[in-house]
């Protein structure tokens, strides 16, 4: 196992609204990312993905408040640090964060190189402008971005170029963790692909050491990340490798999400899309017991009693449901729905050269070793 770059233990944060109501948008999230790996976060809108991204920086400002839990970056515990210290010593070097719609938030009256100066100077005032320019030029060149961009204003750039520039600026100090919230969702497919290619280059060239990638676009997540966590109502309901999560989702909510995947591939047209009825619960007052109960096909009366314990299975997977993994897998197999039900020749061929390891393939089979534990 590689070195752990980011470790989060039972993180809880909340919004305090104008009316002094608490919104528990991140409610007990734990995760780990190894060096060189990427973790995807999926879930419907309003599940708390953006809040999690924001919370992971350790930099809290109203209306967002820290409640409890730990954030450890490369061995350094940053929870409880003062905002000024976080800004000076953590942001940019340890964690870089690209907010949703970042590319539209760039100040239009400032040249791209000035943003880079801002990022570097926030951390170290003594670096000269010339050194910064040289560094930026080199980095842009390696990432395949035209150098002229450094002297342009953001409004002069196309959507795709703007987004790649934002990422290049944010990662100029080679952070250990990059957190990207929907970095390509507003782009067309061609620009999206360029953005993804650049993020992969950043990782391969060692300019970032790990990545959290947030998007509701599941085929994208599947292709970009090593592991996927599914978030529902402020909690992580399931975690596994990208392949396991797409082809063998276990939690009923993950199963529903994966049933809504659309891709332009032969056969996918004949699989009926699954729409999960209803909407996520209000996080001001999350329901007792399983938060998904009101929408779940497999609900039983005890689901709404008390908190679920996390079930760890297949070595490194986790889910949060009252039913056993075997029960759920058998039930899904009987129904025969979802994208995983398409057995195309292509997918068989691909198995050999896919990035996931052999071991994972075995794990995705029906035998599971399961134990219950409070993680």
């Amino acid at each position: 196992m590689g070195k752990i770059m980011l470790e989060v233990k039972d993180l809880k944060t909340k919004y305090v609204t104008r009316f002094k109501e608490n919104v528990y948008a991140v409610d007990g999230v734990s995760l780990e990312i190894e060096e060189g790996k990427s973790l995807g976060v999926a879930g419907e809108s309003g599940c708390g993905k953006s809040t999690l991204a924001l919370s992971l920086m350790g930099y809290y400002f109203a209306p967002l408040h820290y409640i409890s839990g730990e954030i450890i970056i490369d061995g350094k515990n940053i929870s409880g640090m003062k905002p000024d210290d976080v800004r000076k010593n953590i942001l940019g070097t340890e964690v870089a964060y690209i907010p949703q719609a970042a590319m539209n938030a760039l100040n239009p009256t400032q040249k791209v190189i000035r943003f880079i100066e801002d990022v570097i100077h926030a951390h170290d005032k003594s670096v000269s402008k010339k050194d910064i320019f040289d560094m930026a030029r080199k980095r842009f060149e390696i990432l395949g971005l035209p150098q002229e961009v450094l002297n342009r204003y953001s409004v002069e750039l196309s959507g795709g170029m703007k987004q790649r520039t934002v990422i290049a600026i944010s990662t100029i100090l080679s952070p250990k963790v990059l957190i990207a919230d929907e970095p390509s969702s507003a782009l067309d497919v061609t620009s999206q692909k360029m953005v993804i290619k650049m993020m992969r280059d950043l990782m391969e060239k060692g300019y970032i050491k790990s990545m959290i990638f947030i998007t509701h676009e599941l085929p994208l997540l599947y292709n970009v990340t090593d592991h996927i966590m599914v978030m529902y109502a402020g909690q992580i309901v399931e975690r596994g490798t990208a392949r396991e999560m797409v082809f063998d989702p276990v939690h009923p909510y993950s199963k529903g999400l994966m049933g809504s995947i659309i891709v332009p591939e032969e056969g996918t047209r004949d699989v009926k899309l699954e729409a999960i009825p209803g909407t996520p619960p209000n996080l001001k007052k999350p329901p007792a017991g399983c938060r998904f109960a009101a929408r779940c096909k497999y609900v039983i009366p005890t689901c709404s009693l008390g908190e679920r314990s996390r079930r760890v299975f297949d070595d490194n997977r986790m889910h949060l449901c009252i039913h056993s993994v075997d029960f759920l897998r058998e039930t899904y197999a009987k129904e025969g729905t979802g994208i995983a039900a398409i057995k195309s020749q292509k997918s068989e061929n691909l198995k050999e050269n896919k990035k996931t390891s052999e071991k994972t393939q075995e794990n995705a089979s029906n035998k599971s070793s399961e134990n219950e534990s409070e993680v």
Binding site: G43, S45, D188, I262, A275
Partner: protein
């Protein structure tokens, strides 16, 4: 189930375009956004128009809707030359053709309450004189069709809704208007995959109920493949390829179509990042 080419050709034409062109600006600023496109959309057909940003999709949609003028070419509505030369004729045309737009927030008047918005639809359809209870019943039905509660929406303003609720409200409007043709410009771009599935379900149900023709405008080839009978691929203002969804997407001929398809991340096939241009 998608219709076969044969089935389609037996249906009456609802909207036809002959060399439809839009040129913005003059001289050095001249920009041909849509360049001599031909199309023929039939009753209850689901069409997708797919292309990159700036390829001219929204411009074409606006011409078809009569929101902007046509520089050259002709548009036929139910086999007769479209006539929107007066305000009255335009209003009549809009009973037959409606749109759901890219950014849901831009398509509503922010200062009109949701009741007013739905009432306008009833009025447009000639229901102005209906008794109040009947109007409320119609609005309640429309809301429940899209899983919204009318009682919870009355007196609210559009900006008090979430993006997903907003999108559903737009479909509730379409439910009331029951147009012959619906143009949906990126109807699902702002929503997650789950809500997208719900919205598609609703639109296709509506199609079956009233034989509506739906024209999806999208970047999303997966969506185009999933929902449409026919697909038109647009590049720089022109259709470079069209045909049944199966033909165009599983067996693309134009280089541009091939590239668009290869740019989409897939599940069963490898996503080849090495083809990214300019690196």
């Amino acid at each position: 189930m998608p219709m076969s080419l044969q089935e389609l050709q037996n249906k009456p034409s609802v909207l036809r375009g002959d060399k439809v062109t839009k040129i913005f600006g003059y001289g050095v600023n001249k920009n041909t956004a849509v360049n001599e496109v031909n199309f023929n959309f039939r009753e209850s057909e689901v069409v997708s128009i797919v292309g990159e940003s700036g390829s001219g999709k929204t411009t074409l949609a606006k011409m078809v809707l009569g929101l902007i003028g046509v520089t050259q070419g002709d548009i036929y509505f139910r086999d007769a030359v479209r006539d929107i030369s007066s305000h009255k004729k335009k209003k009549e045309y809009w009973k037959g053709i409606q749109a759901v737009f890219q950014d849901p927030f831009s398509s509503f008047n922010m200062f009109n309450r949701i009741d007013t918005l739905l009432l306008d639809c009833i009025n447009l359809m000639g229901g102005k004189k209906l008794p109040k209870e009947e109007k409320v019943r119609l609005m309640t039905d429309a809301c429940s069709f899209v899983n919204l509660k009318y009682e919870e929406l009355t007196n609210k303003y559009p900006f008090e809704l979430s993006g997903g609720q907003m999108q559903r409200l737009m479909i509730a409007r379409i439910f009331l208007l029951k147009p012959k043709i619906l143009i949906a410009d990126e109807p699902t771009s702002m929503v997650d995959a789950c809500s997208r599935a719900t919205i598609l379900d609703m639109l296709l149900k509506l199609r079956d109920e009233v034989n509506m023709t739906i024209i999806f405008i999208t970047h999303d080839i997966g969506l185009a493949y999933y929902v449409s009978d026919t697909v038109y691929i647009m590049e720089h203002g022109q259709f470079v390829e069209s045909g049944t969804a199966e033909d165009v997407i599983l067996n693309p001929q134009a280089e541009y179509t091939k590239r668009l398809i290869s740019d989409v991340p897939k599940i069963h096939e490898e996503w080849d990042l090495s083809t990214v241009a300019g690196l």
